[in-house]
Protein backbone atom coordinates (compact mmCIF):
# COMPACT_ATOMS: atom_id res chain seq x y z
CA UNK A 1 0.00 0.00 0.00
CA UNK A 2 1.67 3.15 -1.18
CA UNK A 3 0.85 6.00 1.05
CA UNK A 4 2.41 9.28 1.87
CA UNK A 5 3.66 9.86 5.42
CA UNK A 6 5.39 12.72 7.14
CA UNK A 7 8.34 12.14 9.44
CA UNK A 8 8.70 14.85 12.02
CA UNK A 9 11.94 14.82 14.02
CA UNK A 10 12.23 16.00 17.61
CA UNK A 11 15.20 16.07 19.93
CA UNK A 12 13.45 16.31 23.29
CA UNK A 13 10.89 13.97 24.84
CA UNK A 14 8.92 16.78 26.50
CA UNK A 15 8.55 18.68 23.21
CA UNK A 16 7.62 15.40 21.54
CA UNK A 17 4.90 14.78 24.11
CA UNK A 18 3.43 18.25 23.57
CA UNK A 19 3.53 17.73 19.81
CA UNK A 20 1.85 14.34 20.02
CA UNK A 21 -0.98 15.83 22.05
CA UNK A 22 -1.34 18.69 19.58
CA UNK A 23 -1.42 16.39 16.55
CA UNK A 24 -3.94 14.13 18.24
CA UNK A 25 -6.10 17.13 19.02
CA UNK A 26 -6.28 18.04 15.32
CA UNK A 27 -7.52 14.52 14.51
CA UNK A 28 -4.49 13.47 12.49
CA UNK A 29 -3.52 9.83 12.66
CA UNK A 30 -0.11 9.12 14.19
CA UNK A 31 1.15 5.90 12.69
CA UNK A 32 4.09 5.40 14.97
CA UNK A 33 6.61 7.22 17.14
CA UNK A 34 10.21 5.97 17.15
CA UNK A 35 12.15 6.73 20.31
CA UNK A 36 15.69 6.05 21.54
CA UNK A 37 14.24 5.24 24.97
CA UNK A 38 10.77 4.59 26.42
CA UNK A 39 8.90 7.85 26.95
CA UNK A 40 6.62 7.76 29.95
CA UNK A 41 2.96 8.31 29.11
CA UNK A 42 3.50 8.34 25.35
CA UNK A 43 1.18 5.38 24.81
CA UNK A 44 -1.62 7.22 26.56
CA UNK A 45 -0.98 10.43 24.63
CA UNK A 46 -1.02 8.52 21.33
CA UNK A 47 -4.27 6.87 22.32
CA UNK A 48 -2.91 3.33 22.09
CA UNK A 49 -4.98 0.59 23.70
CA UNK A 50 -3.68 -0.30 27.17
CA UNK A 51 -1.20 -3.15 27.23
CA UNK A 52 -2.45 -6.60 28.08
CA UNK A 53 0.98 -7.96 28.94
CA UNK A 54 0.19 -7.76 32.66
CA UNK A 55 -2.64 -10.24 32.17
CA UNK A 56 -0.37 -12.66 30.33
CA UNK A 57 2.20 -12.21 33.07
CA UNK A 58 -0.35 -13.26 35.67
CA UNK A 59 -1.31 -16.31 33.65
CA UNK A 60 2.34 -17.29 33.14
CA UNK A 61 2.91 -16.91 36.88
CA UNK A 62 0.02 -19.26 37.60
CA UNK A 63 1.40 -21.71 35.05
CA UNK A 64 4.82 -21.57 36.74
CA UNK A 65 3.24 -22.23 40.12
CA UNK A 66 1.40 -25.27 38.77
CA UNK A 67 4.52 -26.59 37.05
CA UNK A 68 6.46 -26.25 40.33
CA UNK A 69 3.79 -28.12 42.28
CA UNK A 70 3.48 -30.95 39.75
CA UNK A 71 7.25 -31.18 39.33
CA UNK A 72 8.07 -31.31 43.04
CA UNK A 73 5.25 -33.76 43.63
CA UNK A 74 6.68 -36.06 40.99
CA UNK A 75 10.33 -35.71 41.98
CA UNK A 76 10.11 -35.70 45.76
CA UNK A 77 6.92 -37.62 46.56
CA UNK A 78 6.08 -40.06 43.77
CA UNK A 79 9.26 -40.97 42.01
CA UNK A 80 11.90 -41.08 44.72
CA UNK A 81 10.66 -40.35 48.24
CA UNK A 82 13.47 -39.70 50.70
CA UNK A 83 13.71 -39.14 54.43
CA UNK A 84 15.49 -35.81 54.71
CA UNK A 85 16.18 -34.48 58.18
CA UNK A 86 13.63 -36.77 59.75
CA UNK A 87 10.88 -35.61 57.42
CA UNK A 88 9.88 -38.55 55.27
CA UNK A 89 8.36 -37.53 51.95
CA UNK A 90 5.03 -39.28 52.19
CA UNK A 91 2.65 -36.54 51.16
CA UNK A 92 3.05 -33.29 49.31
CA UNK A 93 1.22 -31.21 51.89
CA UNK A 94 3.42 -32.35 54.78
CA UNK A 95 6.53 -31.32 52.90
CA UNK A 96 5.04 -28.24 51.32
CA UNK A 97 7.07 -25.65 53.30
CA UNK A 98 10.25 -27.06 51.78
CA UNK A 99 8.83 -26.57 48.29
CA UNK A 100 7.65 -23.00 48.76
CA UNK A 101 10.94 -21.45 47.59
CA UNK A 102 10.75 -23.53 44.41
CA UNK A 103 7.11 -22.60 43.89
CA UNK A 104 8.01 -18.95 44.31
CA UNK A 105 11.04 -19.06 42.03
CA UNK A 106 9.31 -20.90 39.22
CA UNK A 107 6.37 -18.50 39.39
CA UNK A 108 8.75 -15.59 38.93
CA UNK A 109 10.82 -17.45 36.32
CA UNK A 110 7.83 -18.33 34.16
CA UNK A 111 6.22 -14.92 34.50
CA UNK A 112 9.41 -13.07 33.60
CA UNK A 113 10.73 -15.20 30.75
CA UNK A 114 7.44 -15.95 29.06
CA UNK A 115 6.45 -12.30 29.33
CA UNK A 116 9.65 -11.24 27.53
CA UNK A 117 9.14 -13.90 24.87
CA UNK A 118 5.53 -12.79 24.41
CA UNK A 119 6.68 -9.23 24.07
CA UNK A 120 9.19 -10.18 21.37
CA UNK A 121 6.65 -12.23 19.45
CA UNK A 122 4.00 -9.54 19.70
CA UNK A 123 6.46 -6.85 18.55
CA UNK A 124 7.66 -9.16 15.75
CA UNK A 125 11.23 -9.11 16.94
CA UNK A 126 13.62 -11.96 16.35
CA UNK A 127 17.38 -12.37 15.96
CA UNK A 128 18.90 -10.87 12.77
CA UNK A 129 15.72 -9.00 12.01
CA UNK A 130 16.24 -5.87 9.95
CA UNK A 131 15.47 -2.75 11.95
CA UNK A 132 12.18 -1.04 11.13
CA UNK A 133 13.03 2.43 12.32
CA UNK A 134 13.22 4.93 9.49
CA UNK A 135 16.34 6.74 10.64
CA UNK A 136 19.37 5.57 12.62
CA UNK A 137 19.23 8.76 14.65
CA UNK A 138 16.20 7.34 16.50
CA UNK A 139 18.61 4.98 18.21
CA UNK A 140 20.68 7.91 19.44
CA UNK A 141 19.10 11.25 20.27
CA UNK A 142 16.16 11.87 17.95
CA UNK A 143 12.49 11.07 18.11
CA UNK A 144 10.51 10.54 14.93
CA UNK A 145 6.77 10.94 14.70
CA UNK A 146 5.23 9.28 11.67
CA UNK A 147 1.94 10.81 10.52
CA UNK A 148 -0.32 9.73 7.70
CA UNK A 149 -1.21 12.49 5.28
CA UNK A 150 -4.87 13.07 4.60
CA UNK A 151 -6.14 16.27 3.02
CA UNK A 152 -4.59 19.45 4.32
CA UNK A 153 -0.90 18.65 3.98
CA UNK A 154 0.40 22.20 4.27
CA UNK A 155 -1.61 22.90 7.40
CA UNK A 156 -0.13 19.81 9.02
CA UNK A 157 3.39 20.83 7.98
CA UNK A 158 3.12 24.27 9.51
CA UNK A 159 1.63 22.87 12.69
CA UNK A 160 4.52 20.43 13.03
CA UNK A 161 6.96 23.24 12.38
CA UNK A 162 5.37 25.24 15.18
CA UNK A 163 5.34 22.27 17.53
CA UNK A 164 9.13 22.33 17.69
CA UNK A 165 10.15 19.73 15.12
CA UNK A 166 13.82 20.04 14.15
CA UNK A 167 13.33 18.39 10.76
CA UNK A 168 10.33 17.38 8.65
CA UNK A 169 10.49 14.91 5.76
CA UNK A 170 7.85 13.72 3.35
CA UNK A 171 8.23 10.03 2.63
CA UNK A 172 6.54 7.66 0.20
CA UNK A 173 5.92 4.41 2.00
Amino acid sequence: MASKVIHAYYNDDDILMQAVKKVKATKHHIEEVYCPFPVHGLDKAMGLAPTRIAITSFMYGCLGLIVAIVMMNYIMIEDWPQDIGGKPSFTYIENMPAFVPIMFELTVFFAAHLMVITFYLRSRLWPFKKAENPDVRTTDDHFVMEIEVHGDENGLMTMLQESGAVEINKVEK
Partner: protein, 440 residues
Protein backbone atom coordinates in the same frame (compact mmCIF):
# COMPACT_ATOMS: atom_id res chain seq x y z
CA UNK B 1 -5.56 24.71 57.46
CA UNK B 2 -7.34 21.57 58.51
CA UNK B 3 -10.09 21.80 61.10
CA UNK B 4 -10.82 18.74 63.18
CA UNK B 5 -14.45 17.93 62.43
CA UNK B 6 -16.64 17.57 65.49
CA UNK B 7 -18.04 14.30 64.33
CA UNK B 8 -14.63 12.69 64.10
CA UNK B 9 -13.61 14.17 67.44
CA UNK B 10 -16.72 12.87 69.17
CA UNK B 11 -16.27 9.53 67.43
CA UNK B 12 -12.72 9.28 68.77
CA UNK B 13 -13.79 10.23 72.29
CA UNK B 14 -16.62 7.68 72.21
CA UNK B 15 -14.14 5.04 71.06
CA UNK B 16 -11.86 5.90 73.98
CA UNK B 17 -14.74 5.79 76.46
CA UNK B 18 -15.91 2.44 75.14
CA UNK B 19 -12.32 1.28 75.31
CA UNK B 20 -11.94 2.29 78.94
CA UNK B 21 -15.13 0.40 79.79
CA UNK B 22 -13.90 -2.64 77.87
CA UNK B 23 -10.48 -2.61 79.49
CA UNK B 24 -12.11 -2.04 82.90
CA UNK B 25 -14.33 -5.09 82.40
CA UNK B 26 -11.24 -7.06 81.48
CA UNK B 27 -9.34 -6.04 84.61
CA UNK B 28 -12.32 -6.56 86.94
CA UNK B 29 -13.09 -10.04 85.69
CA UNK B 30 -9.68 -11.60 86.35
CA UNK B 31 -9.59 -14.38 88.91
CA UNK B 32 -7.72 -13.64 92.13
CA UNK B 33 -7.29 -17.23 93.34
CA UNK B 34 -6.32 -20.44 91.55
CA UNK B 35 -9.69 -22.02 92.43
CA UNK B 36 -11.55 -19.14 90.87
CA UNK B 37 -9.44 -19.48 87.73
CA UNK B 38 -10.21 -23.17 87.51
CA UNK B 39 -13.93 -22.52 87.94
CA UNK B 40 -13.86 -19.83 85.24
CA UNK B 41 -12.23 -22.08 82.68
CA UNK B 42 -14.59 -24.95 83.58
CA UNK B 43 -17.66 -22.70 83.19
CA UNK B 44 -16.33 -21.49 79.88
CA UNK B 45 -16.00 -25.07 78.68
CA UNK B 46 -19.56 -25.97 79.68
CA UNK B 47 -20.98 -23.03 77.81
CA UNK B 48 -18.95 -23.28 74.67
CA UNK B 49 -17.80 -26.86 74.44
CA UNK B 50 -20.29 -27.80 71.76
CA UNK B 51 -20.00 -24.80 69.58
CA UNK B 52 -16.23 -25.13 69.45
CA UNK B 53 -16.31 -28.81 68.67
CA UNK B 54 -15.42 -28.32 65.04
CA UNK B 55 -12.57 -25.93 65.58
CA UNK B 56 -10.17 -28.43 66.99
CA UNK B 57 -9.99 -26.42 70.19
CA UNK B 58 -12.25 -28.98 71.71
CA UNK B 59 -9.60 -31.63 71.49
CA UNK B 60 -7.12 -29.55 73.39
CA UNK B 61 -9.73 -28.78 76.03
CA UNK B 62 -10.61 -32.43 76.36
CA UNK B 63 -7.05 -33.46 76.97
CA UNK B 64 -6.79 -30.71 79.54
CA UNK B 65 -9.89 -32.14 81.18
CA UNK B 66 -8.60 -35.68 81.23
CA UNK B 67 -5.89 -34.50 83.58
CA UNK B 68 -8.32 -32.72 85.88
CA UNK B 69 -8.23 -35.47 88.46
CA UNK B 70 -4.51 -35.16 89.13
CA UNK B 71 -4.45 -31.47 88.43
CA UNK B 72 -1.89 -30.13 90.79
CA UNK B 73 -1.99 -26.76 92.45
CA UNK B 74 0.91 -25.49 90.36
CA UNK B 75 -1.10 -25.92 87.20
CA UNK B 76 -4.04 -24.02 88.65
CA UNK B 77 -1.77 -21.23 89.70
CA UNK B 78 -0.27 -21.12 86.22
CA UNK B 79 -3.79 -20.89 84.83
CA UNK B 80 -4.55 -18.04 87.19
CA UNK B 81 -1.47 -16.16 86.04
CA UNK B 82 -2.46 -16.64 82.44
CA UNK B 83 -5.93 -15.29 83.09
CA UNK B 84 -4.51 -12.41 85.10
CA UNK B 85 -2.18 -11.60 82.24
CA UNK B 86 -4.96 -11.42 79.71
CA UNK B 87 -6.22 -7.85 80.25
CA UNK B 88 -2.61 -6.62 80.56
CA UNK B 89 -1.59 -8.35 77.36
CA UNK B 90 -4.67 -7.00 75.62
CA UNK B 91 -3.70 -3.45 76.58
CA UNK B 92 -0.06 -4.06 75.74
CA UNK B 93 -0.78 -5.48 72.27
CA UNK B 94 -3.08 -2.60 71.36
CA UNK B 95 -0.72 0.02 72.80
CA UNK B 96 2.21 -1.44 70.92
CA UNK B 97 0.23 -1.82 67.71
CA UNK B 98 -0.70 1.85 67.49
CA UNK B 99 2.73 2.94 68.63
CA UNK B 100 4.21 0.73 65.94
CA UNK B 101 2.13 2.50 63.28
CA UNK B 102 3.56 5.86 64.30
CA UNK B 103 7.09 4.45 64.39
CA UNK B 104 6.66 2.81 60.98
CA UNK B 105 5.50 6.11 59.53
CA UNK B 106 8.50 7.84 61.10
CA UNK B 107 10.86 5.38 59.41
CA UNK B 108 9.04 5.77 56.09
CA UNK B 109 9.23 9.54 56.43
CA UNK B 110 12.94 9.40 57.19
CA UNK B 111 13.49 7.24 54.11
CA UNK B 112 11.66 9.81 51.95
CA UNK B 113 13.84 12.55 53.45
CA UNK B 114 17.09 10.66 53.12
CA UNK B 115 16.29 9.56 49.57
CA UNK B 116 15.21 13.12 48.69
CA UNK B 117 12.16 11.60 47.08
CA UNK B 118 10.32 13.89 44.70
CA UNK B 119 6.88 12.34 44.78
CA UNK B 120 6.13 12.45 48.50
CA UNK B 121 6.65 15.97 49.92
CA UNK B 122 2.92 16.69 49.56
CA UNK B 123 2.30 13.95 52.11
CA UNK B 124 4.93 15.09 54.63
CA UNK B 125 2.48 16.97 56.85
CA UNK B 126 0.24 13.91 57.00
CA UNK B 127 3.21 11.77 58.01
CA UNK B 128 4.33 14.32 60.58
CA UNK B 129 0.80 14.34 61.96
CA UNK B 130 0.89 10.59 62.43
CA UNK B 131 4.32 10.61 64.02
CA UNK B 132 3.02 13.09 66.58
CA UNK B 133 1.44 10.05 68.21
CA UNK B 134 4.95 8.79 68.97
CA UNK B 135 4.99 10.81 72.21
CA UNK B 136 1.73 9.65 73.87
CA UNK B 137 2.00 6.20 72.30
CA UNK B 138 5.59 5.80 73.43
CA UNK B 139 4.71 6.95 76.94
CA UNK B 140 1.83 4.44 77.07
CA UNK B 141 4.11 1.58 76.08
CA UNK B 142 6.82 2.74 78.46
CA UNK B 143 4.37 2.98 81.37
CA UNK B 144 3.20 -0.56 80.64
CA UNK B 145 6.81 -1.76 80.64
CA UNK B 146 7.48 0.01 83.95
CA UNK B 147 4.36 -1.58 85.46
CA UNK B 148 5.61 -4.97 84.25
CA UNK B 149 8.96 -4.37 85.90
CA UNK B 150 7.11 -3.44 89.08
CA UNK B 151 5.35 -6.85 88.94
CA UNK B 152 1.83 -5.60 88.31
CA UNK B 153 1.63 -8.41 85.79
CA UNK B 154 3.57 -11.47 84.67
CA UNK B 155 3.86 -10.82 80.97
CA UNK B 156 7.65 -10.97 81.06
CA UNK B 157 8.57 -14.01 83.12
CA UNK B 158 12.26 -13.15 83.11
CA UNK B 159 11.47 -10.15 85.31
CA UNK B 160 10.51 -12.52 88.10
CA UNK B 161 13.59 -13.17 90.26
CA UNK B 162 12.15 -16.50 91.50
CA UNK B 163 11.78 -17.75 87.95
CA UNK B 164 15.31 -16.71 87.01
CA UNK B 165 16.72 -18.41 90.12
CA UNK B 166 15.56 -21.79 88.79
CA UNK B 167 16.40 -21.20 85.15
CA UNK B 168 19.96 -21.58 83.90
CA UNK B 169 19.14 -20.14 80.47
CA UNK B 170 17.66 -16.99 81.93
CA UNK B 171 20.61 -16.63 84.29
CA UNK B 172 22.86 -16.73 81.25
CA UNK B 173 20.88 -13.94 79.64
CA UNK B 174 20.56 -11.86 82.81
CA UNK B 175 23.41 -9.55 81.79
CA UNK B 176 21.22 -8.21 79.03
CA UNK B 177 17.75 -9.22 80.10
CA UNK B 178 17.43 -7.55 83.49
CA UNK B 179 14.79 -5.02 84.51
CA UNK B 180 17.09 -2.02 84.99
CA UNK B 181 18.96 -2.33 81.71
CA UNK B 182 15.66 -3.13 80.00
CA UNK B 183 14.12 0.17 81.07
CA UNK B 184 17.30 2.13 80.29
CA UNK B 185 17.26 0.70 76.78
CA UNK B 186 13.57 1.48 76.34
CA UNK B 187 14.21 5.06 77.42
CA UNK B 188 17.10 5.41 74.96
CA UNK B 189 15.07 4.01 72.07
CA UNK B 190 12.05 6.19 72.74
CA UNK B 191 14.18 9.24 73.49
CA UNK B 192 16.09 8.88 70.23
CA UNK B 193 13.02 8.37 68.08
CA UNK B 194 11.10 11.23 69.65
CA UNK B 195 14.14 13.50 69.41
CA UNK B 196 14.46 12.87 65.68
CA UNK B 197 10.75 13.36 65.18
CA UNK B 198 10.76 16.73 66.92
CA UNK B 199 13.95 17.96 65.22
CA UNK B 200 12.77 16.92 61.80
CA UNK B 201 9.35 18.46 62.30
CA UNK B 202 10.91 21.73 63.42
CA UNK B 203 13.26 21.82 60.42
CA UNK B 204 10.39 20.92 58.12
CA UNK B 205 8.33 23.85 59.41
CA UNK B 206 11.31 26.21 59.39
CA UNK B 207 11.93 25.36 55.73
CA UNK B 208 8.52 26.83 54.88
CA UNK B 209 9.53 30.23 56.23
CA UNK B 210 13.17 30.18 55.12
CA UNK B 211 14.71 31.90 52.12
CA UNK B 212 17.22 29.15 51.33
CA UNK B 213 17.39 25.34 51.55
CA UNK B 214 19.60 25.06 54.64
CA UNK B 215 16.85 23.52 56.77
CA UNK B 216 16.10 21.03 54.05
CA UNK B 217 19.72 19.90 53.89
CA UNK B 218 19.93 19.66 57.67
CA UNK B 219 16.79 17.57 57.68
CA UNK B 220 18.35 15.27 55.11
CA UNK B 221 21.39 14.73 57.37
CA UNK B 222 19.29 14.14 60.46
CA UNK B 223 17.13 11.66 58.58
CA UNK B 224 20.08 9.68 57.27
CA UNK B 225 21.55 9.57 60.78
CA UNK B 226 18.23 8.59 62.27
CA UNK B 227 17.85 5.65 59.89
CA UNK B 228 21.10 4.16 61.15
CA UNK B 229 20.01 4.63 64.76
CA UNK B 230 16.55 3.32 63.96
CA UNK B 231 17.66 0.12 62.26
CA UNK B 232 19.74 -0.87 65.28
CA UNK B 233 17.29 0.25 67.96
CA UNK B 234 14.19 -1.07 66.20
CA UNK B 235 15.73 -4.51 66.07
CA UNK B 236 16.72 -4.39 69.76
CA UNK B 237 13.31 -3.00 70.66
CA UNK B 238 11.64 -5.99 69.03
CA UNK B 239 13.82 -8.38 71.05
CA UNK B 240 13.15 -6.49 74.25
CA UNK B 241 9.49 -5.68 74.00
CA UNK B 242 8.18 -8.65 72.08
CA UNK B 243 10.61 -11.53 71.72
CA UNK B 244 11.41 -11.54 75.43
CA UNK B 245 7.88 -12.64 76.34
CA UNK B 246 9.22 -16.03 75.21
CA UNK B 247 12.62 -15.58 76.84
CA UNK B 248 14.01 -18.99 75.90
CA UNK B 249 13.27 -18.62 72.24
CA UNK B 250 15.08 -16.44 69.76
CA UNK B 251 15.05 -15.70 66.08
CA UNK B 252 17.74 -13.72 64.32
CA UNK B 253 15.40 -12.09 61.83
CA UNK B 254 12.82 -11.07 64.40
CA UNK B 255 13.72 -7.39 64.14
CA UNK B 256 13.15 -7.42 60.40
CA UNK B 257 9.90 -9.24 60.85
CA UNK B 258 8.55 -6.61 63.23
CA UNK B 259 9.96 -3.92 60.95
CA UNK B 260 8.00 -5.27 57.97
CA UNK B 261 4.85 -5.28 60.05
CA UNK B 262 5.30 -1.70 61.23
CA UNK B 263 6.18 -0.40 57.77
CA UNK B 264 3.17 -1.89 56.07
CA UNK B 265 0.80 -0.75 58.84
CA UNK B 266 2.33 2.73 58.81
CA UNK B 267 2.07 3.15 55.04
CA UNK B 268 -1.49 1.87 55.13
CA UNK B 269 -2.41 4.48 57.71
CA UNK B 270 -0.75 7.23 55.63
CA UNK B 271 -2.84 6.15 52.65
CA UNK B 272 -6.05 5.98 54.68
CA UNK B 273 -5.61 9.36 56.33
CA UNK B 274 -4.62 10.96 53.01
CA UNK B 275 -7.72 9.55 51.35
CA UNK B 276 -9.86 10.71 54.26
CA UNK B 277 -8.45 14.25 54.11
CA UNK B 278 -8.86 14.31 50.35
CA UNK B 279 -12.46 13.21 50.63
CA UNK B 280 -13.06 16.20 52.90
CA UNK B 281 -11.64 18.54 50.28
CA UNK B 282 -8.18 19.02 51.76
CA UNK B 283 -4.88 18.23 50.03
CA UNK B 284 -6.16 19.36 46.60
CA UNK B 285 -2.81 18.68 44.91
CA UNK B 286 -2.61 15.07 45.98
CA UNK B 287 -3.63 13.04 42.95
CA UNK B 288 -4.33 9.42 42.09
CA UNK B 289 -0.67 8.79 41.39
CA UNK B 290 0.26 9.51 45.02
CA UNK B 291 -2.35 7.05 46.21
CA UNK B 292 -1.12 4.62 43.59
CA UNK B 293 2.41 4.86 44.95
CA UNK B 294 1.28 4.34 48.54
CA UNK B 295 -0.76 1.34 47.44
CA UNK B 296 2.29 -0.04 45.67
CA UNK B 297 4.21 0.21 48.93
CA UNK B 298 1.34 -1.49 50.77
CA UNK B 299 1.44 -4.29 48.22
CA UNK B 300 5.23 -4.58 48.26
CA UNK B 301 5.65 -4.53 52.01
CA UNK B 302 2.83 -7.06 52.43
CA UNK B 303 4.83 -9.45 50.31
CA UNK B 304 8.01 -8.53 52.17
CA UNK B 305 6.27 -9.34 55.45
CA UNK B 306 5.16 -12.71 54.11
CA UNK B 307 8.66 -13.42 52.91
CA UNK B 308 10.04 -12.86 56.42
CA UNK B 309 7.16 -14.70 58.08
CA UNK B 310 7.87 -17.69 55.92
CA UNK B 311 11.64 -17.46 56.19
CA UNK B 312 11.38 -17.52 59.95
CA UNK B 313 8.96 -20.40 59.86
CA UNK B 314 10.67 -22.56 57.28
CA UNK B 315 14.15 -22.56 58.79
CA UNK B 316 12.79 -23.49 62.20
CA UNK B 317 10.42 -26.07 60.74
CA UNK B 318 13.20 -27.66 58.70
CA UNK B 319 15.85 -27.71 61.42
CA UNK B 320 13.30 -28.99 63.93
CA UNK B 321 15.39 -28.11 66.96
CA UNK B 322 13.19 -28.51 70.06
CA UNK B 323 14.10 -25.16 71.69
CA UNK B 324 13.19 -23.30 68.53
CA UNK B 325 10.28 -25.27 67.26
CA UNK B 326 8.20 -24.85 70.45
CA UNK B 327 7.44 -21.33 69.28
CA UNK B 328 5.55 -22.57 66.26
CA UNK B 329 4.15 -25.64 67.97
CA UNK B 330 2.27 -23.45 70.48
CA UNK B 331 1.08 -21.16 67.74
CA UNK B 332 -0.13 -23.90 65.45
CA UNK B 333 -1.75 -25.92 68.23
CA UNK B 334 -3.38 -23.17 70.25
CA UNK B 335 -3.59 -20.30 67.76
CA UNK B 336 -4.35 -22.08 64.52
CA UNK B 337 -7.02 -19.69 63.29
CA UNK B 338 -5.27 -16.37 64.04
CA UNK B 339 -1.87 -17.74 63.02
CA UNK B 340 -2.92 -18.90 59.56
CA UNK B 341 -5.75 -16.41 59.30
CA UNK B 342 -3.27 -13.56 59.43
CA UNK B 343 -1.40 -14.98 56.44
CA UNK B 344 -4.64 -14.76 54.50
CA UNK B 345 -5.27 -11.21 55.72
CA UNK B 346 -1.71 -9.97 55.34
CA UNK B 347 -0.70 -11.77 52.20
CA UNK B 348 -3.51 -13.27 50.11
CA UNK B 349 -5.87 -10.29 50.39
CA UNK B 350 -3.37 -7.52 49.57
CA UNK B 351 -1.79 -9.70 46.87
CA UNK B 352 -5.03 -10.29 45.02
CA UNK B 353 -6.75 -6.97 45.76
CA UNK B 354 -3.84 -4.68 44.97
CA UNK B 355 -2.21 -6.64 42.15
CA UNK B 356 -4.08 -4.80 39.44
CA UNK B 357 -2.58 -1.43 38.68
CA UNK B 358 -5.98 0.25 38.27
CA UNK B 359 -7.24 -0.92 41.65
CA UNK B 360 -4.39 0.88 43.37
CA UNK B 361 -5.95 4.16 42.22
CA UNK B 362 -9.47 3.43 43.44
CA UNK B 363 -9.65 5.10 46.81
CA UNK B 364 -12.30 2.96 48.45
CA UNK B 365 -10.47 -0.13 47.27
CA UNK B 366 -7.29 1.04 48.95
CA UNK B 367 -9.20 1.84 52.14
CA UNK B 368 -10.89 -1.56 52.24
CA UNK B 369 -7.60 -3.36 51.68
CA UNK B 370 -6.05 -1.09 54.30
CA UNK B 371 -8.61 -2.19 56.87
CA UNK B 372 -7.81 -5.84 56.12
CA UNK B 373 -4.08 -5.16 56.40
CA UNK B 374 -4.44 -3.33 59.72
CA UNK B 375 -6.61 -6.10 61.16
CA UNK B 376 -4.07 -8.65 59.96
CA UNK B 377 -1.16 -6.87 61.53
CA UNK B 378 -2.98 -6.39 64.82
CA UNK B 379 -3.40 -10.17 64.82
CA UNK B 380 0.29 -10.47 63.97
CA UNK B 381 1.26 -8.58 67.13
CA UNK B 382 -1.37 -10.56 69.01
CA UNK B 383 0.24 -13.81 67.84
CA UNK B 384 3.67 -12.59 68.83
CA UNK B 385 2.73 -11.59 72.38
CA UNK B 386 -0.21 -13.68 73.54
CA UNK B 387 1.18 -17.24 73.37
CA UNK B 388 3.96 -16.22 75.76
CA UNK B 389 1.67 -14.43 78.20
CA UNK B 390 -1.75 -16.11 78.25
CA UNK B 391 -1.00 -19.40 76.51
CA UNK B 392 -4.11 -21.22 75.36
CA UNK B 393 -6.39 -18.94 77.41
CA UNK B 394 -6.59 -16.41 74.60
CA UNK B 395 -9.64 -14.93 73.07
CA UNK B 396 -10.49 -11.79 71.18
CA UNK B 397 -13.20 -10.51 73.46
CA UNK B 398 -14.13 -7.43 75.44
CA UNK B 399 -10.66 -6.69 76.93
CA UNK B 400 -8.92 -6.96 73.55
CA UNK B 401 -11.49 -5.01 71.56
CA UNK B 402 -11.74 -2.46 74.37
CA UNK B 403 -8.00 -1.88 74.30
CA UNK B 404 -8.02 -1.54 70.51
CA UNK B 405 -10.90 0.96 70.72
CA UNK B 406 -9.15 2.98 73.39
CA UNK B 407 -5.86 3.29 71.55
CA UNK B 408 -7.57 3.79 68.18
CA UNK B 409 -9.53 6.68 69.70
CA UNK B 410 -6.40 8.15 71.28
CA UNK B 411 -4.53 7.74 67.99
CA UNK B 412 -7.23 9.50 65.96
CA UNK B 413 -7.59 12.28 68.51
CA UNK B 414 -3.87 12.96 68.72
CA UNK B 415 -3.05 12.60 65.02
CA UNK B 416 -5.86 14.79 63.75
CA UNK B 417 -5.19 17.38 66.44
CA UNK B 418 -1.59 17.53 65.20
CA UNK B 419 -2.84 17.91 61.63
CA UNK B 420 -4.82 21.03 62.53
CA UNK B 421 -1.72 22.88 63.74
CA UNK B 422 -0.04 23.76 60.43
CA UNK B 423 -1.12 24.00 56.78
CA UNK B 424 -1.42 20.56 55.24
CA UNK B 425 0.81 21.43 52.32
CA UNK B 426 4.49 22.34 52.72
CA UNK B 427 5.24 25.63 50.96
CA UNK B 428 8.95 25.77 50.33
CA UNK B 429 10.10 22.18 50.09
CA UNK B 430 12.42 22.21 47.06
CA UNK B 431 10.63 19.18 45.63
CA UNK B 432 7.11 20.46 46.13
CA UNK B 433 6.63 21.30 42.45
CA UNK B 434 7.80 17.86 41.41
CA UNK B 435 5.46 16.32 43.93
CA UNK B 436 2.56 18.42 42.68
CA UNK B 437 3.15 17.30 39.10
CA UNK B 438 3.85 13.77 40.10
CA UNK B 439 2.27 11.62 37.52
CA UNK B 440 2.53 7.98 36.88
Amino acid sequence: MYTFSNRLKIGAIVLMALGIVGMGVGFVSVPSTPEEAKAMVAAHDDGHGDSHAEEGEHLAEDTAHAGTADHDAAHDEHLMHQLQNRPWSAVYVAAFFFFMIALGVLAFYAIQRAAQAGWSPLLFRVMEGITAYLVPGGIAVFVLLVLSVMHFNHMFVWMDADVVAEDALLQGKAGYLNPTFFLIRAAIFLGGWILYREVSRRLSLAQDEASDNRNFVKNFRWSAGFLVFYLVTESMMSWDWIMSVDPHWFSTLFGWYVFASMMVSGITVIAMITIYLKSKGYLPDVNDSHIHDLAKFMFGFSIFWTYLWFSQFMLIWYANIPEEVTYFVTRIEDYKLPFFGMVALNFVFPLLLLMNSDYKRINWFVVMTGIVILAGHYIDVFNMVMPGTVGDQWSIGIPELGAVCFFAGAFILWVFRALTKVPLQPKRNPFIEESRHFHY
